[in-house]
C-alpha cells in the first residue's frame, strides 16, 4: 500500500473515487434494504442527515468522532512504518483501566492535577500494552499482527477482572467500577447537549501526528522504514527501534482514546466501553489509505454514518449492522478505485 501521496493530484481527482465508492456501496446495500421490505429513502435520509438536523445529532457525531479518529491513528502511525497494529481495542481497554485506576486511587485531587493524570494514566497504560507486541517483535521477530490481535482478547478478560474486583460498583448489574474522582471529569465545552473537551485533544493529536510523520526527521525515518525496511537499515536507520516506537506511540494514542472514554463519557470503567471502535478505526485508516491528513475527514464521515445508523435502528427498526456493511463496502470500493485507475 502506498503511503505517500502520488504526484500532486487535484482535490477533485482525489474525491471522485471516494464519492463514487460511497454511492455504489449505498446503492448495493439499498437494494438489499428494499428487498427486506424497508423504506430505502427514509433509511438513507436518516443515516446521512441525523448528524446535521439537530444540535444534539451534531454533538453525538463529534462524540463518536473522538474515539474513532484516535483508533484510526493507532492504526495508521505504525502503518507508516509498515507495521499493522490491530490491537487498538486492547490498547483502548488497558488505557481505560489505567485512567480509571488513577481516577479511583486519587479521587480528591483538583481537576487541574487529576485530569492530566487520568489522561496520562491512560496513555502510559496503552503505551505499555503496545510495548508488549513491540518488544516481541524486537526481541523475537514475532509478527505484530497476531500478537496485537491476541492481546485484545487478553484485555477483554482483564477489564472484566478489574470491573468485577474490589472497585466493583455493587449497584450496577453490568461489570462496572465505582466512578473516578469528580476532578478527573473532562470539562464540558457545551453543556446541553454535553460535549466534553476530548474533541480538542483529538484535534491536537491529529495535528501532532501530521507534523511528526511528514515534517520531522524522525518521521522521515518512520516513512523510510515503512517504504523498505531493509534499505532503511542499510542506510543507517535503526528499523527495529522504529517498529517498536511506532507501536508504542500507537498504544499511547489508543490508551488516550480509552482515557477519554473514562474521563469524558463514562466517568467510570464499564465492560464493553470499547464498542466496535477498533474495527471502525481500521476501516477509517484503510479508507484514508494510511494518509494521516485524510484520517480526520474519513473519521468524521464514519461518525456521521454511525450516528445515523443508531437513529435508523430506533426509528425504522433496521439493524445498525446494515450501516457497518455499507462502511466495509465503501472501503472495498475505495480500494477498487485504485485498480481502476491503474488500468
Amino acid at each position: 500500500m502506498t503511503i505517500m501521496a502520488k504526484s500532486k493530484p487535484t482535490i477533485l481527482n482525489t474525491l471522485i473515487p471516494y464519492v463514487a465508492a460511497i454511492l455504489i456501496a449505498l446503492a448495493a446495500v439499498g437494494v438489499f434494504i428494499a428487498l427486506m421490505g424497508f423504506d430505502v429513502l427514509k433509511a438513507y435520509y436518516t443515516i446521512l442527515f441525523t448528524s446535521f438536523r439537530t444540535p444534539n445529532g451534531f454533538i453525538q457525531t463529534l462524540l463518536k468522532f473522538i474515539p474513532l479518529v484516535l483508533q484510526a491513528y493507532a492504526f495508521t502511525v505504525p502503518l507508516a512504518a509498515g507495521k499493522f497494529n490491530i490491537g487498538g481495542e486492547g490498547q483502548l481497554i488497558v488505557g481505560a483501566i489505567g485512567a480509571a485506576a488513577v481516577g479511583i486511587l486519587l479521587p480528591d485531587l483538583p481537576p487541574l492535577l487529576l485530569i492530566p493524570l487520568v489522561l496520562l494514566g491512560g496513555i502510559v497504560a496503552g503505551a505499555l500494552w503496545g510495548f508488549i507486541p513491540g518488544w516481541l517483535l524486537y526481541k523475537f521477530n514475532i509478527n505484530e499482527i497476531l500478537t496485537t490481535v491476541l492481546l485484545n482478547f487478553v484485555s477483554f478478560a482483564l477489564i472484566n477482572y478489574v470491573a468485577t474486583g474490589p472497585w466493583r460498583d455493587p449497584a450496577a448489574g453490568h461489570p462496572t467500577t465505582i466512578p473516578i474522582g469528580r476532578g478527573g471529569y473532562l470539562p464540558l465545552l457545551v453543556d446541553n447537549p454535553p460535549l466534553h473537551a476530548g474533541i480538542i485533544i483529538a484535534l491536537l493529536v491529529a495535528v501532532a501526528v501530521y507534523f511528526y510523520t511528514t515534517r520531522s526527521t524522525a518521521g522521515y525515518e518512520l516513512v523510510a522504514t515503512g517504504a523498505n525496511p531493509r534499505a532503511a537499515g542499510v542506510f543507517g536507520i535503526n528499523v527495529k527501534y522504529m517498529f517498536v516506537l511506532s507501536i508504542v506511540i500507537a498504544g499511547g494514542i489508543g490508551g488516550l482514546s480509552g482515557a477519554i472514554e473514562v474521563s469524558g463519557v463514562q466517568h467510570r470503567l464499564i465492560e464493553g466501553l470499547q464498542h466496535n471502535f477498533l474495527v471502525l478505526g481500521l476501516i477509517i485508516g484503510l479508507i484514508a489509505k494510511g494518509n494521516n491528513m485524510a484520517v480526520p475527514f474519513v473519521a468524521f464521515f464514519i461518525a456521521v454514518l454511525e450516528v445515523g445508523a443508531s437513529a435508523m435502528q430506533r426509528t425504522l427498526m433496521i439493524p445498525v449492522e446494515m450501516v457497518f456493511i455499507v462502511e466495509a463496502l465503501v472501503l472495498l470500493f475505495v480500494l477498487l478505485s485504485d485498480v481502476v485507475r491503474r488500468k
Binding site: T217, A224, N228, F235
Partner: protein, 517 residues
C-alpha cells in the same frame, strides 16, 4: 538449404504502460545455429525473447515457426512448440530437489506416489548425451551457480526443446565455466538444436555465435554473420551515434591499460585486519579477510555471486558486525561506529540488490535521494526535514544524473530499473566521500550510463577517493581496478596487481585455487 530460417519474428511491438520497449523488431533464427542477440541493458533483448517464450504478450507483430504462423500466449504454448528458455535469474525452487525442479509441471509416470525413477532414468540419458552431470537428489539451493545453470538447461532439454533461448547465461560463471558452456552449446547445435544467445558482451558473441543481431532502444540495428563481423560496427550498433567512443572509458581507456596508477596515495583509507564473520552453520561467512585500500586506489573484489561479497560490504558499512578482526577507516577504528555515523564520516555505498537494499519504492524520489544523509544539514535542522532544500537538491541530481522521472515527489516505484540504479549512484556521489563501496554498480545500466559511472569513479579517484569495487562482472574489474582480490567462500584466495591481470588465472581463483605467488 541450411539458411532457411526455422523461426521468424516480424514487426514485434511491445509497450509497458507508456514506454515503448520494442518497436517493429524482427528476428530470424536458422536451424542449427547459435544466434547472438547483442545489446546494452534496456535494448529489449530479454523482452523480445520473453514474448517468444509466452511470458509477455506482444502488442502487435507476427511469429512463425517452420513457415507456419503461430500464436504463443503462455510458456505452456512455447514449451508445446519445443521452445525452451533459460532465464538470467534462475527460475528454480530452492527447497525442491534437482529432480523435482526438472520434472515440475510435466506428466509424471507415477503421479499418485511421486516415485520419480522413470523420470530420473530419462534425465540421466540426457545428462550423458549433452555432458551435463548433476546429482539429481540434492536440494537445488545447495548447489553452486554454475551447476544450477546446468539444471536450467536440463529442464529445457527434458521438455524436448529444439529452440533454446539463453538469457545472459555467463553472468555467474568463471571464465573456465564459460568455456565449458560454449562447448556444450556446440554439442547441442551438432545434435540439431538451435540456440538464441542473449548477452551484452561483444567478446562472447564473437567467440561462440554463428550470426549476431544487435538491438538498441527497442529497435533492430543490424544482423551479421560472424565471418562478416566488424567489431567496430557492433560497438557503434550497441551504443548509438551519440556516444563518444574514442573518449569512453569502456572502449578506449581499458585498451590502453592506463587507469591512473599515479593517483594512488600513500595514506591507507580502509584497512581490514583478520576480519571474521561466523555463521550458524559450519562454514564461516567471512574468514581472515585482510587488505589495505589506499586513497586514490580502486581495489576490485572478484568472485562468483554468493561467496561473501555482500557480507564483506556490510561489515565495512557496519550493517553486519564481524565476530573478529579490525576495521579501520583513515587509521581510526570504526568497529563501534553505527552505520549512520560511518555514512556521515565519508563512506558512500552502492548496494548490490538495488530494490531490496538500496531503494524505497513506496517513498518519493526526494526521500530516496537523501536516505542516509537525512539527519544532517542541509537536509535536516532542529529535528525537522528542510523539504525546500531537499527538493531543490533532488531536482539538481535528477538533472545531473539523467534520472527519468516526473520530479522529486514522484513515487519511487514508478521508476524503471536503470533509473533506480541512477538514483543510487546519484545519492552515493551527492556528498563528498573518502571511500566508495560499490557492489555491482552498473547492473541494469545501458552502455552510455555505465560509461558515465566509470568516468565518475575515475574522476573521484583523481581527487583521492578510495574505491572498493565488488563486482561479478570480471570485465568491469579488469577495466577499472588497480588491484583485484578474489573472494571464494568467504576467504580472499589471492590478490593480483594490474600488471599481472590474467582472466583465466582469476577464474581459477574464483573456483577456489589459491594464487601462485
Amino acid at each position: 538449404m541450411a539458411d532457411t530460417p526455422i523461426l521468424v519474428m516480424k514487426g514485434i511491438r511491445k509497450t509497458f504502460d507508456k514506454s515503448v520497449a520494442l518497436d517493429d523488431v524482427s528476428f530470424e533464427l536458422n536451424a542449427r545455429e547459435i544466434h547472438g542477440l547483442l545489446g546494452g541493458n534496456g535494448a529489449g533483448k530479454t523482452t523480445l525473447m520473453n514474448i517468444l517464450y509466452g511470458l509477455y504478450k506482444k502488442d502487435s507483430g507476427e511469429i512463425s515457426l517452420h513457415e507456419k504462423k503461430i500464436n504463443i500466449s503462455s510458456p505452456r504454448d512455447a514449451l508445446h512448440k519445443h521452445i525452451g528458455m533459460v532465464h538470467q535469474h534462475f527460475l528454480q525452487i530452492t527447497s525442491f530437489t534437482v529432480l523435482e525442479n526438472i520434472v515440475l509441471g510435466t506428466e509424471i509416470h507415477n503421479k499418485y506416489s511421486m516415485d520419480l525413477s522413470v523420470e530420473a532414468t530419462k534425465i540421466q540419458a540426457l545428462q550423458n548425451r549433452f555432458n551435463l552431470a548433476v546429482d539429481l537428489n540434492i536440494s537445488i539451493g545447495d548447489l553452486p551457480m554454475g551447476t544450477r545453470q546446468k539444471v536450467e538447461i536440463l529442464k529445457a532439454l527434458y521438455r524436448g526443446a529444439e529452440i533454446l533461448i539463453l538469457d545472459e547465461p555467463t553472468t555467474n560463471l568463471t571464465p573456465q565455466e564459460v568455456d565449458d558452456l560454449f562447448k556444450s552449446l556446440r554439442v547441442m547445435v551438432d545434435q540439431d538444436l538451435s540456440i538464441v544467445f542473449i548477452t551484452h558482451k561483444l567478446r562472447e558473441v564473437l567467440s561462440v555465435c554463428d550470426r549476431i543481431s544487435v538491438l538498441r532502444n527497442g529497435r533492430n540495428v543490424v544482423t551479421l554473420k560472424r565471418d562478416e563481423a566488424n567489431e567496430e560496427a557492433f560497438v557503434r550498433g550497441m551504443v548509438g551515434d551519440e556516444m563518444d567512443i574514442q573518449n569512453s572509458v569502456i572502449f578506449s581507456r581499458g585498451k590502453s591499460g592506463q587507469i591512473g596508477a599515479e593517483h594512488i596515495r600513500a595514506e591507507v583509507c580502509l584497512h581490514l585486519d583478520q576480519v571474521q564473520l561466523a555463521s550458524q552453520g559450519s562454514v564461516p561467512r567471512l574468514k581472515d579477510i585482510s587488505f589495505k585500500l589506499r586513497h586514490g586506489e580502486i581495489l576490485g573484489i572478484a568472485g562468483v555471486a554468493g561467496n561473501g561479497q555482500r557480507d564483506l560490504a556490510e561489515v565495512i558499512l557496519g550493517i553486519t558486525l564481524p565476530t573478529g578482526g579490525k576495521v579501520e577507516l583513515d587509521a581510526k577504528d570504526i568497529l563501534a561506529m553505527p552505520t549512520n555515523q560511518r555514512l556521515e564520516s565519508g563512506i558512500a555505498y552502492i548496494p548490490e540488490d538495488r530494490l531490496l537494499d538500496g531503494f524505497l519504492p513506496k517513498a518519493s524520489v526526494a526521500h530516496n535521494l537523501i536516505l542516509g544523509f537525512h539527519r544532517k544539514a542541509p537536509y535536516s535542522s532542529g529535528g525537522f526535514i528542510n523539504w525546500n532544500t531537499v527538493h531543490r537538491t533532488a531536482a539538481e541530481l535528477i538533472k545531473t544524473y539523467n534520472i527519468k522521472t516526473s520530479g522529486p515527489s514522484d513515487v519511487g516505484g514508478n521508476l524503471s530499473g536503470g533509473n533506480i540504479q541512477r538514483v543510487l549512484i546519484a545519492r552515493a556521489f551527492s556528498k563528498p566521500a573518502n571511500l566508495l563501496v560499490a557492489h555491482n554498480p552498473t547492473r541494469g545500466l545501458d552502455i552510455p550510463s555505465m560509461d558515465f559511472v566509470y568516468s565518475r569513479i575515475l574522476e573521484e579517484k583523481k581527487k583521492g577517493l578510495a574505491t572498493l569495487l565488488i563486482s561479478e562482472d570480471l570485465d568491469e574489474l579488469l577495466l577499472l581496478c588497480d588491484r583485484i582480490a578474489v573472494l571464494y567462500r568467504g576467504e580472499l584466495v589471492g590478490t593480483l596487481d594490474r600488471s599481472k591481470f590474467e582472466k583465466y588465472e582469476i577464474g581459477r581463483m574464483m573456483s577456489g585455487y589459491r594464487a601462485e605467488e
